[in-house]
């Protein structure tokens, strides 16, 4: 009954860890309650993308992850 949230780059710095298990389901409106205000604010930044199981959400406010899903919070890529 868990969702794995993966934090990348500076969002991992903010979270203080690379990933965290949170209770399913995880929705956009539930994000602040689960991750805290700072991370929810960073997730809301227009340049932050959210992927579920490796697929980027076209509309991240439609987030609705269930048991076993992996949700990644992706800051802007800085290039290889």
């Amino acid at each position: 009954m868990a969702v794995t949230v993966v934090f990348i780059g500076k969002l991992a710095d903010l979270a203080g860890e690379d990933e965290r298990e949170v209770p399913a389901p995880l929705t956009w409106s539930g994000l602040a309650g689960v991750l805290g205000a700072d991370l929810a604010e960073a997730a809301a930044d227009e340049r932050t993308k959210i992927a579920v199981n490796g697929q980027v959400l076209a509309d991240k406010t439609a987030l609705d992850a269930g048991d076993g899903d992996e949700v990644a919070l992706l800051p802007p890529v800085s290039g290889g």
């Binding site: 490796g54 800051p75 802007p76 890529v77 290039g79 290889g80």
Partner: protein, 150 residues
């Protein structure tokens, strides 16, 4: 036709990849290769770290490689990227394209590099004076990408 995509977490010698890659494509007209290294612009950058997200970074590179091969009618494409902590002078990225004609090979490398630099799932930070700093996307990278109209 062969596509090779790899992510490496330790220093690599580009020649070790390019030689066998070229030899594997008899009949080619030209092979173009780009190697990007950690610059030592100044003495302030002590190290660079590239992070990736395996389940997105590798499929993204594979899709880019397949797209590049189709667009430029390549005989083969090699795309190798470092992740982890790197020091000035170490190779970061290697792209090598085999084609029947030189224009295809050169343009393919140009295209693949522009996309790797701006649209791939890598996050970068630099260490200066003992402190790590996250690198934001550069405007120039987006301008580079706009050249391809895709």
């Amino acid at each position: 036709m062969a596509i090779t995509v790899d992510l490496l977490d330790a220093p690599f010698n580009p020649g070790r990849f390019v030689g066998p890659f070229t030899d594997a494509h008899p009949g080619l007209g030209g092979v173009c290769t780009f190697v990007g290294e950690v610059r030592s612009d100044d003495d302030t950058v002590e190290a660079l770290e590239l992070l990736h997200y395996e389940r997105m970074t590798r499929p993204g590179m594979e899709e880019l490689a397949a797209q590049t091969v189709r667009r430029f009618e390549l005989m083969g494409l090699l795309m190798v990227h470092r992740v982890g902590v790197m020091y000035p002078g170490e190779p970061i990225v290697l792209v090598s394209a085999c084609a029947r004609h030189r224009r295809g090979a050169i343009d393919a490398v140009d295209f693949a590099m522009d996309h790797l630099k701006s649209r791939s799932w890598f996050w970068k930070r630099e260490k200066r004076a003992g402190e790590w700093h996250w690198i934001e996307p550069r405007e120039q990278d987006h301008a580079d990408l706009a050249r391809w109209g895709d």
